[in-house]
Structures are given as C-alpha cells and as structure tokens.
C-alpha cells in the first residue's frame, strides 16, 4: 500500500494496512493534511475546516504507533483520519457549531460517538464547517463563511454537514461524521457525490451532539464508498447509558469489507481530479451475480412528481433498472402524507430548537455582550449578536408556536401529522416492501448565493425530511451526474434495518460502478 494512493483508499484499506504494519498512523495523518493543503481546503478556498491542529494529530498518531508496536489491537478504524462536524463535542479541538456565539469554545468532555471512534483507532484530524447550529441546506449559514463544493467551487456543498461531505469528496478523509435533523447528511452527500447515512433514531448516541431538535437529531456518517459509511456507522452505533433515547438493539456487522472481500485495485492518483469534477473514489468491482434476489423495492409516487427534473428522474430509473436486473422486484407504492413533511418539520424543529438553544445565554460560556445595562439587556445583545439570521428566524418561529394559545394549533397538530407520516412508512414496510428508493434531492448543487428565499431553501429537504420525522434509516448513494454535478439516490428501510439498507446500497454502488460518477 502506498500513501501516494491516499485519496483513493477506503477506511478498511487504511485500517488493515495500519494493523498489518504496512502503513503508519503518522503517514496517514500527514497524507490527510497534505491532501487538504493540495486541494485548498483552507478558509480562503474551499473553507472545509473550522479547526484542525496537525501537530496535535501527529502526536496522537505517534502514540498510537507506540501502542501498535506493543501489539495492542487498535481497532477497525486503526489509523483512519476522520473529520467531524463542528457540532459534535471533541476534546482538543473547539466545538463552535459554526456560530459566533460559541466562537473559541472548547468542550471539556467528549461525545460518545467520538470516544467510540477513537476507541476503534480513528484519528480526529479536523472539525468541519456547517450551517450555524445545523440550520440550513447549503453551509452558507456558517458564521465563518460558506464551504465550497469540491466538484465545482461556484456551487454549495449542501448542508448542514457541508464541510463533512466536502472533506470526503475532496479526498481528505475517507470518513467524516455529520449530523441530521432533516437531511443534513444525505443532501450534502448527494451534492458532493459521496455516500451519506442517517441511521435509525436511537441507533447512535446523541450524547455530545449539540442539540437542535432532539426528537429528530441523529449523528450520521459520510463515506467515500458505502463500505466507508458502513464501517463508520458500525464503529459508533449502539446503546449508551448517557443517552436515554439510544437503543440497546444489537448492532450487526454492516461492512462488506468484513467479509474478507479483497481491497479493490486502484489506479494512479489524480490530485486534480476533484477540481475538474472527476471522482477519485476507488469502487468495488461490479458483482458477477444477482445480489438482490427476493428484495422488494418500493417506488413511492409522491417522491417522483411530474415536476421532478427529468435528468434526476432518468438517473433514478436507471438505478431502479439495476435493482431489477439484480433480481429485486420494484413495486409502485404510496406514502400519502409525505407532502406534509416540510410544514410539519418547520413547526417541530424550530419549536425544539427554541428551547434547546436557550442555554446560549452568555452566562456560563461562549459569547457575552454586556454593556452594563442589566441582565435583560445582556441576554438580548448576546443572543442577537451571537446568532445569525437563520437561527434567529427559527428561534422566533419556535417560540411563537410554543406560546400559550398557539401550542394546540401548531405544535400539537404537527405532532399528530408526524405520527401519520410515520404510519405511512410502517404500512409500507409491513406490506412486504424491504426498501424504498427515491431521489435524495430535487436538484443537484446550486450556485453559492442562488437561493435567498428561506422557504425555497427548505424545499431542498423535501425528499429527506420524512425519514427524520419517521425515525427510519436512510442512505444517499451517488447515482450519476447532471450538468457534471453529482446526483444522489436514497434508500430508506424500516427501523433498525440498516443491514438491508446497506445491502441495497452496496448492490447499487457495485452495479453502477464508475457510471455513478459520470
């Protein structure tokens, strides 16, 4: 294995090389930082990272090297550099949520997902840029400037986990952690031509994930390939006593690479590939056998409206054809309440946010703007100067819908509709459908600054937000390009059935091969 190939190595390749002593953690950390420099991840270019510290990362890698030499088993992510969204608490690097109100804040404790990543041998190399407090679909709402899409720097990478998706798409790390409240991992993964997973609500501990809307929030994983995403999820999933909503359901092995599959051959590195929109991802070879025998894939009509862009529709049809050719049955289905998802989401999520963000008050940590005019004035100036416009908008919306007299009309009604949306999914999955396939987004990445109307921006999440409301797992996989920009397809399965979700995603990825990136 050669570090020259770094941008094309899967997490499993890196981990097995490191565990076998063919590569060192230090080499991997250096390769990651070099790649970031080469591709221009810095603030004035792609602006992918908010915080990183090469010296500290190399120090960490060195101590891992020492442990390796003493024959310790470092884990399934041994020596794998991982980037982490800046709303997940890490020791060492700040956790700012892309907000001025937390500028410079360093958490004195670490998120459970990060502890688990490290326990599996991962090296956290950077915190990634994001829409402030995960509120947005373009990473333009970061207080520290927008991230650019590595496939086309004029475009957004999607959001709110835009920095994480861009880091993986740019070949800086094979895995990055993001978070989802309404599509914030899958949508940027689709825009950046990488894989993005939102697990079942409760699958991954939220301890240390800065809360936006607690009943919807879930840590997710971005990977270069399905296998990277599977490996990442496997390493962080499972019950945590620090999160009462985490599930004690058993976590199966999701990785194809765990089955002893040989690492795919990779060609010569092409460091400029990302700049011109070619994908450096090493893909598994196409399978020789039909691999989806007996699987029923639902195609929900509400997610394929007449208004859907024909390019996206055609790419989805191609993916559905591949499912059929691999032995799956494609069935037309309906999720009739899904069109209500956006209004429901924009009542529930801001309501929870207005309460969750109350702790940022200037009293204990973060920004405090105090002109000596008393407590109320301190609250007002801290919060109005600390929060950006989108966060302020959602706090106002949420405060309104929770106010006495409006609670029943908005919050309670939205909760009731949420239940109906979840019922639709349950009905489909109990009727013999194993997985649902939809486009991830209605459009590919749009230019920076192109969408100024908040409602138009919200509609970006129209196909993803239902999985959050229903709590079911979903994955976005690259299915092709339009106007040279990546397009993602989404696979949704029943609660805690990530296994089938990965199985379908693996098959699709293998069947499309390089076509997924053309």
């Amino acid at each position: 294995m050669s570090v020259e190939n770094f941008t094309m190595l899967g997490a499993a390749d890196i981990a097995s090389a490191v565990r076998a002593g063919d590569a060192s953690p230090t080499e991997m950390v250096r390769a990651s930082f070099n790649r970031a420099r080469d591709i221009g991840a810095g603030h004035d270019e792609l602006n992918i990272f908010l915080h990183s510290d090469q010296e500290a990362s190399e120090h960490e890698a060195k101590s891992m090297q020492e442990r390796l030499q003493s024959a310790a088993d470092i884990g399934i992510l041994a020596g794998v550099p991982v980037a982490v969204k800046d709303n997940i608490a890490t020791l060492g690097l700040p956790t700012t949520c892309g907000s001025k109100i937390l500028a410079g804040y360093v958490s004195p404790y670490e998120a459970t997902a990060i502890t688990r990543l490290r326990a599996n041998g991962a090296l956290v190399v950077a915190k990634t840029n994001m829409d402030e407090f995960a509120m947005g679909s373009s990473t333009e709402n970061s207080a520290f400037g927008p991230t650019r899409n590595p496939h086309d720097v004029r475009c957004v990478p999607g959001g709110s986990s835009g920095g994480s998706a861009a880091a993986v798409a740019a070949g800086i790390t094979p895995i990055a952690l993001g978070s989802e409240t309404g599509g914030s991992v899958r949508q940027p993964a689709a825009f950046c031509g990488v894989v993005g997973v939102k697990p079942t609500y409760g699958r991954v501990s939220r301890y240390g994930l800065v809360a936006f809307a607690s009943s919807l929030d879930q840590i997710g994983v971005v990977g270069r390939t399905v296998d990277d995403a599977a490996l990442g999820l496997e390493s962080i999933a499972g019950f945590d006593k620090m999160d009462s909503t985490s599930s004690d359901a058993e976590v199966p092995v999701y990785r194809l690479s765990a089955l002893g599959k040989p690492a795919p051959e990779v060609g010569a590195p092409d460091t400029e590939a990302m700049r011109i929109g070619r994908n450096p991802v090493a893909l598994p070879p196409p399978p020789s056998a039909k691999t989806l025998e007996g699987i029923v894939i639902g195609k929900p009509r509400e997610y394929f409206p007449d208004t859907l862009d024909t390019n996206i529709k055609d790419l989805c049809e191609r993916a559905l054809d591949r499912f059929r050719s691999m032995g799956a049955t494609v069935r037309d289905i309906s999720l009739p309440r899904s069109p209500l998802a956006i209004p429901v989401y924009y009542i529930l999520a801001p309501a929870e946010a207005s309460s969750n963000l109350a702790r940022f008050d200037g009293v204990r940590y973060g920004l405090r703007v105090d002109s000596g005019k008393g407590l109320k004035a301190m609250y007002e100036s801290t919060r109005s100067q600390g929060f950006g416009p989108e966060v302020t908008r959602r706090i106002l919306l949420g405060t309104y819908v929770l106010s006495a007299g409006y609670y029943d009309a908005y919050y309670k009604k939205a909760q009731a509709v949420r239940t109906l949306i979840a019922d639709d999914f349950r009905a489909v999955f109990t009727s013999g459908v194993n997985a649902i396939f939809t486009p991830t987004t209605p459009t590919p990445a749009f230019p920076v600054g192109a969408i100024s109307d908040p409602y138009e921006m919200y509609l970006n999440d129209i196909f993803t937000v239902t999985a959050n409301l229903a709590g079911v797992p979903a994955i976005s996989v690259p299915i092709g390009r339009m106007r040279r920009l990546p397009v993602g397809g989404q696979v949704i399965t029943a609660h805690f059935d990530e296994y089938t979700m990965f199985r379908v995603a693996y098959a699709l990825e293998a069947s499309l091969g390089q076509e997924a990136h053309q």
């Binding site: 709303n87 997940i88 608490a89 956790t95 949520c97 937390l102 804040y105 958490s107 004195p108 404790y109 998120a111 939220r206 301890y207 240390g208 994930l209 800065v210 809360a211 607690s214 009943s215 006593k241 620090m242 999160d243 009462s244 909503t245 309501a351 929870e352 207005s354 309460s355 963000l357 109350a358 702790r359 940022f360 008050d361 009293v363 204990r364 940590y365 407590l375 609250y379 405060t399 929770l402 106010s403 006495a404 007299g405 609670y407 919050y411």
Partner: protein, 303 residues
C-alpha cells in the same frame, strides 16, 4: 368591611427535595454545603451536547411519597420543559411535569372538628421536577454570583386542593405533611438547607360562595410561620382591595384589577404565562412506573 365577611381560600404547593445521593438527571452529588459549583458536570451545567438521564431512585422516592399521601400513581407520566430565562437556570428551562404528573389524587388528615369530623386537605397532584441553582446577590458588590450545586437536585411538588380556610389550618397541613415525608424517609425536609419550600395560592370569598376569587401567588417561603404570616397579610390586603374597589365602583365605575403578583414577598421568576412555554421533553422517554413496582413500594411501606 369585607374583613369580617370574607374568609381565605388557600391551596399550597410544597416543593420537597428528595433524599437521593445524586441529582435528578446526572451523577453529581446532592451534598449540602460544598464549595460553589463543585457538584456540577456537563449535564447540570447545560454544556452544549450534554443530555439528562433520569435518576431511578428519585422516581422510587417520589412514588413512595405519593403512596404515603394516598395518591394514585399514573402508569405513564411525562417530563416536560418549562422554558424561561434566568441566570441560575442553566438550560433555559426547568424539567418538570405538567399534563401527566407522577401521581394524582390523595389527601392529608390534619385534625378533627369539635364535632369529631375529619378535616382533610385534598392533594391534587404530586409531580417530579428539578431545582434551579442559586443566585447570590449580596456577596459581590454590583454583581450576582451563581452557584449551580443545587441545579438539577430532584424535587417533588405536592399540590393541595384549595381546601384550606385559615392560616392555622395551613400550618397544620404543612406540619402534618412534613411528618409524613419524614416518616417515609423520602426527604430530610430541612428548611435550613433549602430542602423544603412553599408557594401559596390565596384568594378570598364570603363563606358559602362557590366561585373562586382572583388569586395571588406567594412564592418561595421557607418556613411554616412565614406561610402563616403571609396568608394573614394577604387576607388583609385582598379584603382592603375589595373595599377600595367597591368604594370606587360606587363613585366612578372604574374597576381596578388586583395584580396577580404579590410584590412584597416575591417576584415571579418565570414571567407571565405568555412567556413561559411548555412542551414535552423528547429527551426523556416517557416514564412508565409499572404497577408492579408501585405495588412493591406499597407492600414495603405497609409492612
């Protein structure tokens, strides 16, 4: 004068600290008298990303207290957030219970009438909640110091029916309640350490009337004699107010509506109802107290 014609109608809310080793939603110690902000952690400091985990022992003690007061344990009870800003409330909300409290119904026998009939004060509900921290206004000139050692300490709030008609009955009710809680060993019921506080809702009416008058809430009293004095003072004040309104009504027709906040005793931390927003806490699963566990409590305390 209305002082002779009116009597007080009082309901009391008693907040009692449960005798747990650790706080309601984190593992911090509840020891009294530790140096400021020592008994704190990411959860009770409300650091970004921290989550609450319910202390089962607190539920156990709350359930025991409820059974001791003859309450019905609700098979499902739900925690909710009471949202308001205050510097010693780290999360910007208090975790409490609203629509679905731990227990409902119940009563306390406080004595007998001359004819030998029971004087019973009804218990409306008993719910669980967490305490806030402490604001210290008189220690540093020009500044308020915050001690969060108390933040997250488990409390039960015992809400009585508006069955109390005199300050003496109020005192008898509180003393009986204290005895019961002491006997059940659910709380230290120590006034000095702040493990017991009382809020009173008081209005006045002419005996025989059935429509309640406009009430005043007197909050954060930490001694029984303070409650008795406050009720007497408030009875006087409300009667005087009624007299002055009636005189004015004769003279002009303008009605002056009494302020719902009793200025002399306290201020209302949470502001008016329009600013206090409540919603179910999704961070916690619903608390289901199984019948079996509440029955086992009952058995233990009957034996």
């Amino acid at each position: 004068m209305s002082r002779e014609r009116y009597e007080m109608v009082v309901g009391l809310e008693m907040h009692v600290q449960l005798k747990t080793r650790t706080k309601a939603f984190c593992g911090c110690s509840t020891d009294f008298g530790a140096p400021p902000n020592v008994n704190t952690c990411p959860t009770c400091l409300a650091l970004p990303g921290a989550l609450p985990v319910l202390n089962e022992r607190a539920v156990e003690l709350g359930t025991r207290a409820a059974l001791g007061l003859g309450c019905t344990i609700n098979p499902t009870s739900v925690f909710a957030r009471k949202n308001y800003f205050y510097p010693d409330l780290p999360k910007g909300y208090q975790i409490s219970q609203f629509d679905q409290p731990l227990a409902s119904g119940g009563s306390v026998l406080i004595g007998r009438t001359e004819k030998g009939a029971d004087i019973k004060i009804g218990i409306t509900r008993l719910h669980m909640e967490e305490d806030a921290g402490k604001s210290i206004h008189d220690r540093y000139p020009g500044a308020t110091a915050i001690d969060l050692n108390r933040a997250g300490v488990p409390l039960i709030e015992i809400v009585s029916e508006p069955d109390i008609r005199s300050s003496a009955d109020a005192g008898a009710y509180l003393r009986t309640l204290k005895q019961i809680l002491q006997y059940l060993d659910v709380s230290d019921v120590s006034m000095e350490e702040g493990s017991l506080r009382v809020d009173a809702n008081i209005s006045v009416w002419p005996p025989g009337q059935t429509k309640l008058g406009t009430k005043t809430e007197v909050k954060y009293m930490n001694s029984f004699s303070a409650v008795e004095r406050a009720l007497e003072a408030e009875l006087e004040r409300q009667c005087a107010l009624i007299d002055s309104v009636e005189q004015k009504r004769e003279a002009t027709t303008t009605v002056i509506f009494p302020s719902p906040i009793f200025g002399r005793c306290c201020w209302n931390r949470s502001g008016s109802t329009t600013h206090t927003r409540i919603f179910p806490s999704s961070r916690m699963r619903e608390k289901r107290v199984s019948l079996r566990s509440s029955e086992s409590h009952r058995a233990k305390w009957n034996s």
